[in-house]
């Protein structure tokens, strides 16, 4: 009996072990295998605390004297120098002005990391050089015309709860009223939307605190839809506008069907900013030329510059965008040129927009981190004028209006909404903030940055009395925008500040009559000291306007596309991406399809034969996964150049209308055998009569071995 039960027990144990073992085996997925290996070698040199010896001090002193550096210069160098391999703490995304690009610059080293093509074709990035039907070229077309540049002004990083989230970047094109959308996973422009109402937009891009909308404010009024109207009908027909572009974060695209605009009086709307926290649900737009001057110096009229500066006050536009959104969703918008517009009468009757008087022709309006105050910079007035959201709300509730403007928009009593005026100096333009209760305003005419103290809850953060100028640092020269580290968010870092100086005059070696801009880095860490300029960085491309500075660790940048065959236009693997072993050339009538792979250091196929007049669709998969193993692909004479990043899938189409023999080659020095990474495209002339397909596939067969 005992033995029997023991055997049965043993058999049970057997089974248990067998089943358990098999189960364990099934549990051995490949995911287990992705453990990183052990690193034997570090990248850069490790930082260890140092103590400078007397001998080293002597060396340092000798070099400083040889190079005519004083102690402040040495300190500036120590604050900005980045040893090889060390990464910057912040990334500055700067408008590239008329270059139509964005520049990414590391802070504090001020090293240019790269440019991002947005409104202008750029050949290194292969942006707009992908054949006759390049979607980028389509994107850059306005009314059938190739518009190959943009006047990029204000970059805006996407925000979550009023703080940069590092996901997307937007930028406005002032010259053509367009917005570009850049995905910060791969730093590529994904979308450009053209405003159908107008041709110029200065107040773009600014995002609402959760990036629900991207604000695009206009500048020079035209009729909405930009049709013809004589200047004599200025007041009747010309209109300003501000557009609320709905952003679909999941798709990473602006949803034009959910976007709408607000009709504004024909004042010249200027910069904008979205409210946050205390002012969430509102946005603010400055204006000038509320005189509605129409210029005409040639006819003996005052020129715009004088006519638009006559009145002492212009209007700060105060817009309740949540109410505007509700009115739009309630169907209260009219379609103009196919785009929904809330008319001025609706803005007035629905209580969507109010005006507050502001000292004449101001420039920037910037909302403090807590959303409580709007800082309007005087431009032609030496003050910044600070408005209180609390007071604005109260004035609206109390109907503290001094009347309406000519278009029926209520004008709030200046004294009812104004919190403070701070005299800073000449030509205040833009304001940024730190974490210690200070604001920083650029002074164009003074060529200086002013630090001044905020009031209200900020008063407790520092020892200075509220609403008071504290410090002025000269910059070189004619500062436009300025940018503090995360200085326009709900939580500024108070670290670095960039002065975007428009004139460099004598700062650098002469570069002919066209001089670079000067991005100057100021150290604003310590409140009690001067804010020294610690770096001058020449920007020799375009005239940048605004920039934003984000903590580098917020960016979730891909170093390589996630999978081989990745289509950056859809951010997914393309079903069309040729796979290794499936390369070749196929023909359907005069349509030729080339399926190609590229890997160090060859293309497959290396010979492609087509007939003159064929429409050639060329698909390339980059079969690479190593970081920085980028290839290029060009066909000389056909205006084709692609940047082929690791794992990317690319497609282009062109008409082979030029017979001949065309070498194609890799345009990035990819490997030791880079020069050998080449092939030939043969376009057989029509009169040669021979049929290409057979030879084409033959050549392919030999090429793919």
């Amino acid at each position: 009996m005992m033995r029997g039960s023991k055997v049965a027990g043993a058999r049970g144990a057997w089974r248990l072990t067998l089943v358990g073992g098999l189960a364990l085996t099934m549990l051995a997925p490949e995911a287990w295998a992705q453990q990183p290996g052990r690193r034997r070698r570090g990248g850069g040199a490790e930082a260890a605390p140092i103590e400078i010896t007397a001998e080293q001090t002597a060396q340092l002193t000798r070099i400083a004297n040889d190079r005519k550096l004083n102690f402040d210069d040495l300190m500036a160098a120590a604050k900005t120098f980045m040893p090889s391999g060390r990464h910057d703490e912040y990334v500055l995304f700067a408008s590239g002005g008329q270059s139509g690009q964005i520049f990414a610059i590391g802070v504090p080293s001020m090293r240019l990391l790269r440019s991002i093509a947005v409104f202008t074709p750029e050949s290194w990035q292969g942006y707009g050089f992908g054949g006759d039907t390049d979607p980028v070229r389509e994107r850059l077309r306005i009314n059938g015309r190739d518009v190959q540049w943009g006047d990029t002004h204000h970059p805006a990083l996407s925000e979550t709860k009023g703080d940069y989230d590092g996901q997307f970047l937007f930028i406005g094109d002032k010259a053509n009223a367009r917005l570009g959308v850049i995905d910060l996973r791969d730093w590529e422009t994904k979308q450009i939307v053209k405003n159908p109402l107008t041709l110029s937009s200065h107040g773009a891009a600014f995002v609402t605190p959760n990036t629900d909308y991207i604000i695009e404010g206009g500048q020079y009024p035209t009729t909405l839809g930009s049709s013809y109207a004589p200047i004599s009908e200025y007041k009747e027909k010309y209109r300003g506008m501000v557009t609320m572009w709905k952003f679909d974060r999941m798709k990473g695209r602006i949803d034009e069907s959910q976007s709408f605009a607000l009709e504004l009086p024909p004042y010249w709307q200027d910069l904008a900013d979205a409210g946050k926290l205390a002012s969430d649900g509102w946005f603010f737009v400055n204006s000038f030329n509320t005189e509605m001057a129409t210029g005409g110096i040639e006819d003996g009229n005052p020129p715009f510059e004088a006519g638009a500066s006559k009145r002492d006050m212009d209007y700060l536009h105060i817009v309740n965008w949540k109410k505007a959104e509700a009115a739009f969703k309630a169907g209260k918008a009219e379609m103009i040129n196919g785009f929904p517009v809330l008319r001025l009468s609706t803005l007035a009757s629905e209580g969507i927009m109010y005006f507050a008087p502001e000292p004449k022709s101001p420039h920037g309006v910037d909302v403090t981190p807590n959303g409580q105050y709007m800082v309007v910079a005087g431009k032609l007035d030496p003050h910044v004028t600070v408005y209180s959201m609390e007071k604005i709300k109260k004035a609206i509730a109390d109907k503290a209006f001094s009347g309406t403007d000519d278009f029926g928009i209520p004008v709030l009593n200046f004294d009812a909404v104004m919190e403070a005026q701070v005299e800073l100096g000449l030509g205040p333009l833009h304001t940024q903030f730190d974490d210690k209760g200070y604001a920083y305003t650029s002074l164009f005419l003074d060529s200086a940055v002013a630090r001044w103290s905020l009031g209200g809850e900020y008063d407790a953060l520092n020892d200075d009395r509220p609403w008071k100028l504290v410090q002025k640092t000269p910059v070189q020269y004619n500062i436009g925008h300025l940018c503090a580290a995360e200085g326009d968010t709900v939580s500024p870092d108070g670290r670095y500040l960039i002065s975007m100086s428009k004139w460099s005059v004598d700062r650098f070696l002469p570069t002919g009559p066209l001089l670079p801009q000067n991005f100057q880095l100021l150290d604003i860490v310590e409140p009690g000291t001067t804010m020294p300029v610690i770096y001058d960085s020449p920007i020799g491309v375009g005239e940048p306007h605004y920039c934003q500075m984000i903590k580098a660790d917020k960016l979730q940048t891909w170093t390589v596309y996630p999978e081989v065959g990745w289509d950056p236009h859809t951010q997914a693997i393309s079903p069309n991406a040729p796979k290794s072993g499936q390369e070749g050339v196929t023909r359907n009538g005069s349509q030729v399809l080339v399926n190609m792979t590229a890997v160090r250091s060859h293309f497959v196929p290396e010979h492609v034969v087509v007939n003159e007049g064929d429409t050639v669709t060329w698909r390339i998969t980059v079969v690479e996964t190593a970081q920085d193993a980028t290839h290029g692909f060009c066909i000389g004479g056909y205006n084709i150049n692609l940047s082929m990043e690791p794992s990317e899938y690319l497609e282009f189409t062109f008409v082979a209308d030029q017979p001949g023999t065309f070498p194609f080659y890799c345009t990035e020095f990819c490997s030791a055998l880079h020069l050998e990474m080449a092939g030939y495209l043969y376009v057989k002339p029509k009169d040669a009569g021979a049929q290409a397909p057979a030879e084409g596939s033959e050549a392919v067969a030999s090429g793919s071995k």
């Binding site: 073992g21 364990l24 085996t25 290996g37 052990r38 690193r39 250091s601 996964t625 190593a626």
Partner: protein
């Protein structure tokens, strides 16, 4: 049970005897069980690593071999290897990788069997597991040598890189690459398993040899 089977399987432990010396009789079984667990667990850990360092790969390239899987920067290393004409790594040891899990399960079952056999024949069942680490090493060496020595003479760099035997363990080099190879946790688990089995047999002998002798004497006497 026939006499032949009994001679192979060996004597059973009478319950009274087991109760008298539980540790003596349980110990070999427990040690074998530990060896079996180590062997199974080794499936989930790498058997072998290689790091390849070169100036343009500041983070290094890694190869990690599990008993049934080669992973890491295989694609990149294959891409580089094509310059010197080395065949893709995936072509190496295909049978071994496909069979590895089954072989380990088989060894697992054989050791289980060894615990039930109380004669010297038990050693036979444990030989695969005892020799497994050595076998793994020999197989790895075989394939690396085979791949290193059979380079495509038509490859782009065939004139500058001659056939070579890659370093299986320790520091080696090829071109601008320095290679560092070492055993992984899985391999050490398998080595421990092998060692435990050997130790287990010492206790196995201590426990069952007297019983076996007694059984044999009894059988002869009958």
């Amino acid at each position: 049970m026939s006499r032949f089977v009994r001679a192979i399987v060996g004597p059973r432990v009478p319950p009274a005897e087991f109760a008298r010396r539980p540790v003596r009789y349980a110990l070999p079984t427990l040690i074998f069980m530990a060896a079996r667990v180590l062997l199974i667990v080794s499936i989930f850990f790498p058997y072998w690593h290689m790091e390849l360092d070169a100036p343009q790969y500041p983070n290094g390239l890694f190869l990690t071999a599990y008993c049934n899987l080669l992973t890491g920067d295989v694609r990149e290393i294959d891409g580089l290897n094509h310059y010197i004409g080395m065949r893709p790594l995936g072509e190496a040891a295909q049978f071994e990788r496909a069979a590895a899990i089954y072989m380990i399960i088989a060894m697992f079952l054989l050791i289980e069997g060894a615990a039930f056999i109380h004669s010297k024949w038990a050693v036979l069942l444990a030989i695969p597991a005892i020799t497994f680490p050595a076998g793994f090493y020999i197989d790895l060496f075989y394939w690396m040598r085979k791949f290193g020595m059979n380079l495509d003479p038509e490859a782009p760099l065939s004139s500058s890189v001659k056939p070579f035997v890659p370093t299986v363990i320790g520091e080696g080099g090829i071109g601008q690459f320095k290679t560092y190879a070492e055993w992984g946790t899985g391999y050490w688990l398998a080595v421990w398993a092998a060692g435990l089995i050997v130790v287990g047999f010492l206790f196995h002998m201590r426990a069952y040899r007297p019983l076996f002798k007694k059984m044999k004497a009894g059988a002869l006497g009958a």
